[in-house]
Subunit: 264 residues, 4 copies
């Protein structure tokens, strides 16, 4: 008969524990929500500086206005107002490779480059630049995009990027992923022939990787941030509803065309 090991929530008639701590006495009222999310994911309690960087990342990713995920959550709430969980879940399902995936892709890309380095990490900016240059060249030769480069709106620079670098430095938790990401920002014009901004989703992936969070779940932290954002969207929908107008703006502007057989 199998048993199922876990270090997370457990309870007996008179006590509840979470991560080995007494939930009521040691967690409730003592541990902030960002701190708790970090702790749950890594099973280690983060330091104060790590919490600040982690929460700055969550703030950067929480809400970007009328994204497909926000529209989806609002339309689903319109259609099934009895099921808040369905509206949130529908919104999160848009958090895939394209709209929320850059954070994860960037963290993994940086990790893979660093994993290929023999000996220690570069010692100064010049050495980081060498590594970054090789990485950008190699991506370009393979016909792959470098994740975290470019933004369709913030063409001259994403304001989140510089700010997150600053916070990580202030807190002393900037590590090799952020260093490599910064170097990519410096050297990529030599390979690509034009200067692109380092975007906010990318720098968040670098920071999360430096915090030691599991690479397989970097996207999950973007989704956690977005859950808070989607609740904000639903709360606003309750007061200033737009979902019905969105639906009607599509439905009333439909244009019937004849079916065309799909030919494989």
């Amino acid at each position: 008969m199998p048993d199922y090991p876990t270090a997370l929530g457990a309870s007996s008639p008179d006590r509840i524990t979470l991560l080995g701590r007494d939930l009521a006495e040691e967690v409730m009222g003592e541990v902030g929500f960002g701190e708790l999310a970090f702790w749950l994911a890594t099973q280690r309690r983060p330091a104060k500086g790590e919490i600040r960087v982690f929460e700055a990342v969550l703030a950067a990713l929480a809400d970007h206005g009328f994204t497909p995920t926000a529209i989806t959550a609002r339309l689903t709430f319109l259609s099934a107002p009895d099921s808040v969980q369905g509206a949130l879940a529908a919104g999160l399902l848009g958090g895939g490779s394209r709209f929320l995936g850059v954070t994860e892709d960037c963290g993994r890309f940086l990790h893979d480059v660093l994993a290929g380095v023999e000996g220690g990490h570069p010692a100064d900016d010049a050495e980081w630049d060498v590594l970054a240059l090789a990485a950008v060249r190699s991506a370009r030769e393979a016909g792959r995009l470098v994740p975290g480069l470019g933004h369709h709106v913030h063409k001259q620079g994403d304001p989140r990027t510089a700010r997150l670098f600053d916070i990580a430095h202030e807190e002393g938790v900037s590590g090799p992923h952020l260093s490599l990401f910064a170097a990519i920002g410096r050297v990529h014009p030599r390979v690509l022939g034009r200067t692109l901004p380092l975007n906010g989703a990318g720098v968040c992936g670098a920071a999360l990787a430096d915090l030691g969070l599991p690479l397989e779940l970097l996207r999950a932290f973007a989704l956690l941030a977005r859950t808070a954002g989607l609740i904000g969207q639903l709360a606003e929908e309750l007061r200033d509803p737009v979902a019905k107008d969105i639906f009607l703006s599509v439905d009333l502007n439909n244009r019937s065309i004849p079916p065309r057989p799909f030919d494989g």
Copy 2:
């Protein structure tokens, strides 16, 4: 042509705002994640004491071990490891009327009782007891359960309940919903003939309602807390996988029975 009003995220080429604030300068590094979630939902920045109560609620609801939602998230991750968003969404979809619904039901129940009070709220415990007694009697006569009463494990008292009352009092943010809930805890034995504990999910609903959060979305805060818990479950699944054993423990113990026509 419709336009779509929003006070949430907005951006121009050189600036991103959230709730009317500069995201990079005024939010990132300055606002904790619990605080931000509260702010997004209410469009007002919470006071420090409100944040502490709110985060204590989130901690109380984040993870309860191998619940159906946790098992579901792990099984979905086993089955579709390429889609973290799907695993989280599947887990959240269990957050409905039965397992995560008590928080919302309790908040609404208390709200409805308070909404029926003419004049001001009760002035002391004795007056609260009168109101609570009427509410419990009325629920019983209607054949309805009083949400927040009883727990299948913590039969002698849920340790989260006393703790959350304490924190709310310490922070000076205990309001009428918590007062009424406490009174229900005192008087219900007179109606029901036995003493039940005030459970943690219920007290969380009372506290969230006292914080002025939208009643229609109380369940959403339980889901936000649970998102952090589910990420913890997936992170643990990566290291100590149990989903395959769970699946096999069911599949290998299946027992074939003949079909029996359903008769309407």
Copy 3:
């Protein structure tokens, strides 16, 4: 140690069974998909006439153009094209109380009225009218809508309704739910003071209930039909993409407003 009884899929090294039949020999190539869905839900093989009515219901509910569910599926596919399951799931999550719920609500309403009848069912139209009149009056007195009445587009009559009545009569599977629904169509103007059409979603609920399908799952058949419709939406999106235009039409027409504190 628990075991888990099931009459559905089972397999041994050289044989797979479904509903007690040999899947390869007796089901594949022998059983249509509508028939199989009916059989799976009721564990009895439907007769030919029942299949025709059931599939007519599925056809009626499969796709209604640019509904919130269709828009949601397309937006989610745009955002997470790597996860077709996520796009379909997101679309289905809109199938709640408001947009796809009428089918279930109507089936349950008719069932409840019939369950309250002592003795046998009415014998002729006049008797059905008496029952229907009482039901509509009782709903109106309770301030409840009669599900299945009214349509925002097909104000003079929903073309699906007459057709489904005809098919059910042709196949000899019209039962008490359809009879009562027809009677509601005849008598409601006497109570409501105006004539509303019997809508397609409602007649589908009546027909599904007459087929003996489980009332708790009537909405599930609407969702099954819609799954086929959503695949059609995604297939069309691959060729004639509109999701990005929809997203931009919202995002570019956003209007920033100042935050307004929510006041409970």
Copy 4:
């Protein structure tokens, strides 16, 4: 102002069309559900033999007993019985790369091999074997698995495979994907050194590709089939509930372990 072209559902006050046909008169009662699903996805009406093969595929994929998707749907229904759409969506979310992905992977693999053939397709089994041998060798050299080969239960042969080949031949709709798949079944032992069965999920992918269905959506048809299966699971759960036992069998066999910090 954008408009949104579609050949799917459209309606005017007195008429509803689907795929350019009158829904009430030409679709309801005239078009089976498998046929309709095919038609919606390809915008062409399938021939009778194509429908039989398509529905045989759906039957093969509808339900495989207590899979993670079935367990997930049942647990979600236990936890949120008010939201049937959530239970179905949660179940479908397990339809990702691992459990339902073989169908899509196999169809794409075969398609890619065929796309690399210059001139016409092979003319006889010997020529197909040459092509298959090259494809299997090339996959092996790249360290990739050949999708559709092997089954953990049906080690001597998956009964669905031979049956689907037969039905496709009977109906005259066997095409190059099935031919190549059959050849892979003949030649792979020469490369891999052992004989593996062609599995049912793989042959379904080959058949769907031969039917001309969009490759990007092959997984979607597995999900459509599974939707019917999941409704069967929920219907059985209503009568013979097992979800609570499954939940308790996990929860009661949890084993608390100390947290171990994750080390990146």
